[in-house]
């Protein structure tokens, strides 16, 4: 089992605030690593720090054994990291097709095959191919955001709260899609919905007050009622 991403003792400051105060975890190739924690624990900032959007002030992040801690965001993305932000970040005035083209960057055989795969996974995107991104429903935007991150040269996907604000039936679709995408890529997932996280995740990292509290196998956490109650408020 290869370690694709290693986050080691990362601290992040945003203005005068010390948000991340020691985050460490690893993402294993071909697995889904879930970051869990209460609201404001630092999960989203962790993803943004990996991508260089809120650069780390201390610690080290390596991706495929390359130190990416000090790289600019576009440089990090070009090493093979795709990002699905919490707000989906759809380009509203571009059509679905144009959104995909911006993400694809090239139209070689491998990229087109990836596009076909993802469109089969999210057939709604095919239906609304010529529709402006801003006119899509919340669920369709989420699908487009995931498709866009996948069709690039991504070896690792950082997905932030894909179930947020979606209807249960759409959450089910998104969850099935992530399970399918897992066969082709490695995923680091931030998710509040523990039922979804436990079904998708292979490993977990618990974050509290900007610090890694505990990491391990998801199956172990499912049966650990004490930890779930203490850090996630469930059980």
């Amino acid at each position: 089992m290869n370690t694709l991403l290693k986050v080691d003792g990362v601290h992040t400051h945003i203005k005068q605030y010390h948000i991340l105060q020691g985050i460490s975890f690893e993402a294993i190739e071909g697995q889904v690593s879930v970051l869990l924690g209460r609201n404001g624990a630092g999960k989203t900032t962790t993803l943004k720090t990996i991508l260089g959007l809120t650069p780390a002030s201390q610690g080290r992040i390596t991706f495929r054994d390359i130190d990416i801690t000090k790289k600019p965001t576009h440089g990090i993305a070009n090493t093979g990291i795709g990002y699905v932000p919490e707000d989906q970040g759809i380009f509203a005035s571009l059509t679905v097709e144009e959104n995909m083209k911006v993400a694809m960057r090239k139209e070689d055989e491998a990229t087109l095959a990836k596009r076909e795969y993802i469109l089969d996974l999210f057939p709604d995107l095919k239906t609304f191919w010529k529709k402006d991104g801003g006119l899509l429903s919340g669920g369709q935007k989420q699908m487009l955001a995931m498709a866009r991150a996948f069709v690039g040269n991504s070896k690792l996907l950082l997905i932030d709260e894909p179930s947020k604000g979606l209807a249960p039936i759409v959450i089910e679709k998104v969850m099935e899609a992530i399970l399918d995408m897992k066969k082709h890529t490695t995923i680091v997932l931030v998710e509040q919905n523990f039922i979804m996280a436990s079904r998708i995740g292979d490993t977990y990292t618990l974050i509290d007050n900007g610090e890694t509290v505990q990491s391990g196998l998801m199956q172990e956490l499912i049966h650990d009622e004490q930890v779930k109650r203490k850090y996630l408020g469930i059980g």
């Binding site: 576009h74 993305a77 932000p85």
Partner: protein
């Protein structure tokens, strides 16, 4: 994207045909000159739309590129000879100079956050204005200088037609540019720069490209403007030119290309008519006040500009009809 431009194409085709026929059916010198001015400012406003509408860059220094084009053409025609060849060469030289300067300026300034960038472009524009005022041996300072235009342009109608063709060509070239993959990246930068970076794009490069394209097109507008007046002074480098371009773009509708053309028409025509009313009604000697009221009304009733508001209404209708369709589908299910 094609459907988005369908109405533009129809509207533009009708307008171009009408404008092309116009000088053959009327001999009004005033209207020929006024329309020529509108075409020139349409080119300038379209160039500004590439910055503001498509890339989300607010620049207060756009006049420097317009002024560079105007001075290059004026100086070359004055110092070499007033022929069509020199005129074409002066346009190319102006574009080259502005291309290089906008590249350097863009590279140095576009890293800054939007408001700091806007202030810096204002300062740089001021710098070029002072340079033109002080470099009297070439520019004749504030007083400016007159020069002879090529013989071909002595006939106002010929110049009118040349400028009309330039405007149409610029429109189609810029439309092709914004519809290209590069144009889509510019729109992505405008909508969400961080997200564009996280897709692997070095957004600075794309913003610099937009700045160079806008600068080069503004230079063309400046060259034509100088020819239309057969005179140039430092007013071509002042903030007023940038503000005109900004207002034309905002009133017409940012990010639409056709909007700046309409905006240029609205502003130039209202300036002409409001100042003309002063002959009969003394209150219109203060026509700039009415001009201000017009701006306020347009901003209130067309917050996204004339074309932008029409498009929004169209989208709203489309969204409602899609919503109804989806609702009836789900009821059927």
């Amino acid at each position: 994207m094609t459907s988005k431009y369908q109405w533009n194409n129809i509207f533009l085709s009708i307008m171009v045909i009408a404008l092309f026929i116009f000088p053959f059916v009327t001999d009004s010198r005033t209207w020929t000159i006024l329309l020529t001015q509108i075409f020139i400012f349409s080119i300038l406003a379209m160039s500004y739309d590439i910055l503001l509408g498509y890339t989300g860059i607010v620049s207060f220094g756009h006049a420097m590129f317009f002024g560079m084009g105007a001075y290059t053409t004026a100086v070359m025609l004055d110092r070499i000879e007033p022929t069509i060849g020199v005129f074409v060469l002066s346009i190319a030289t102006g574009m080259l100079i502005t291309g290089i300067i906008s590249f350097i300026v863009g590279l140095l300034t576009l890293r800054l956050k939007s408001h700091f960038f806007a202030m810096l472009t204002l300062a740089l524009s001021g710098l070029f204005l002072v340079l033109a005022e002080k470099w009297r041996s070439v520019t004749s300072g504030n007083d400016g200088f007159t020069f002879r235009a090529p013989e071909f342009f002595k006939d106002r109608m010929m110049f009118y037609l040349v400028v009309l063709v330039c405007m149409v060509v610029v429109y189609f070239v810029l439309r092709r540019f914004v519809q290209s993959p590069l144009g889509h990246v510019l729109v992505a930068v405008r909508e969400n720069e961080q997200r564009t970076k996280s897709l692997g794009y070095n957004t600075l490069h794309y913003k610099v490209i937009a700045s160079v394209v806008a600068g080069v097109v503004a230079s063309l507008a400046g060259s034509l403007y100088a020819i239309s007046l057969r005179f140039v002074n430092t007013s071509v480098l002042t903030m007023d030119i940038t503000l005109d371009a900004l207002l034309m773009t905002i009133i017409g509708g940012v990010g639409t290309l056709i909007g700046p053309i309409i905006g240029a028409g609205v502003i130039e025509l209202s300036q002409h008519f409001l100042s003309g009313l002063a002959k009969d009604y003394p209150i219109f000697e203060r026509w700039i006040i009415f001009f201000g009221i017009l701006y306020i009304l347009v901003v209130i009733f067309f917050p996204s500009g004339i074309v932008g508001t029409i498009r929004q209404a169209f989208h709203k209708r489309k969204k409602q009809s899609v919503g109804k369709e989806e609702q009836s589908n789900s009821e059927e299910l």
